[in-house]
């Protein structure tokens, strides 16, 4: 029984990968960088140290000049004066705008006050409204009573 099975199992050995797959997979794997552990042992320590120094210098060259140029440009008197002038102009422009709008509003208010034809200041209208107000009708009798006590 087991011998038959073993023979059957051995026949599965006929299963083979696709040659195209073998070629592609192998070329991709081999083309990749060798394992990191191997690289660590292959690079001499002195070379590693020199490389580290080179990286530090490169960073210094890239970073520090940039910072210097920023600080110098920010302290340049001409540039500061220019910024200050720009600031004044901005303030003045805002003030002009404010005055323009406020003057218009003031002028409108004066005109309205001086105009007797204005509807809400019309004396005839006010008198007619007064007639409609029921001043004799107390909404709260207690208040009237208290007021009488205080006044009289």
């Amino acid at each position: 029984m087991n011998n038959d099975l073993r023979i059957q199992l051995k026949k599965l050995k006929g299963i083979q990968p696709d040659p195209d797959f073998i070629r592609r997979s192998k070329s991709v794997i081999i083309a990749l960088h060798p394992h990191p552990a191997a690289m660590r042992f292959r690079v001499p320590f002195s070379l590693f140290w020199a490389g580290a120094m080179a990286v530090v210098l490169l960073l210094a060259v890239v970073i520090f000049p940039a910072e210097q140029s920023v600080s110098i440009s920010s302290l340049n008197p001409d540039r500061l004066a220019q910024e200050l002038n720009d600031l004044d102009i901005n303030v003045q422009l805002k003030e002009i705008k404010y005055y323009q709008t406020s003057n218009q509003e003031i002028a409108l208010a004066i005109n309205e006050i001086g105009d007797t034809r204005t509807r809400h200041l019309n004396s005839a209208l006010l008198e007619s409204e007064l007639e409609n107000v029921e001043t004799q009708t107390a909404t709260n009798p207690e208040i009237d009573q208290l007021l009488d006590e205080v006044i009289f």
Binding site: Q8, K11, L12, I15, P17, S25, H35
Partner: protein, 187 residues
């Protein structure tokens, strides 16, 4: 064996050609092992590629400890298959056995019979437990020794022998269950 040891040492130092020779030597059996466990050509190719890529990237940490290089590769392959099923839980239907597997048989009827028998075996194999599958494939398809199998699977040799015995019995049972009844006898 000495030649393989030399290739391993070179590969550990990053020699791509040396690793390429190890790849050529072990790819077919690792592929076959994975294919019989996944049942799909595409999955088998993807996982096999990943196994050798992992091996290449971890060669620096490889120590033989008296065991063959194949045990290490089988261990990576076995873990890769487990990871594959962990991430893709869906069940895959088993593909038919490739024609190459039956190409040696001379006539068409024999080829059909053989393909049918192999399909039965493959389907029955896939119904076995993980360890049983691994041990049968390593032992009878790839002809590894019990010691090599034990190393690859992290078990002792006695356990491997017991699992192997149970696996064969179980495989026989599954095959008998799948095999259609012989109707000619009844007639």
């Amino acid at each position: 064996m000495k030649e393989e040891e030399s290739l391993i040492q070179k590969a550990r130092k990053g020699d791509g050609n040396a690793f390429g020779k190890l790849y050529d030597e072990y790819l077919p059996r690792i592929y076959r092992f994975i294919f019989l466990k996944t049942g799909r050509k595409q999955d088998a190719e993807d996982i096999t590629h990943q196994v050798f890529l992992n091996a290449w990237q971890n060669m620096g940490g490889y120590k033989s400890k008296g065991f063959p290089f194949s045990s290490w590769l089988y261990r990576i392959a076995s873990n890769a298959v487990i990871d594959h099923y962990r991430t893709r839980r869906e069940h895959r239907d088993i593909e038919t056995v490739p024609e190459d597997a039956v190409a040696e048989t001379p006539d068409f009827e024999n080829r059909l019979d053989t393909a049918f028998e192999l399909e039965l075996v493959k389907t029955a194999l896939n119904r076995l437990e993980e360890d049983q599958q691994n041990i049968l494939l390593m032992k009878f398809v790839d002809e590894l020794s019990n010691k090599e199998i034990a190393e690859a699977l992290g078990k002792n040799e006695g356990t491997v022998r017991v699992i192997q015995h149970r696996a064969l019995k179980q495989l026989k049972k599954h095959i008998d269950e799948q095999r259609p009844q012989d109707t000619t006898k009844e007639a």
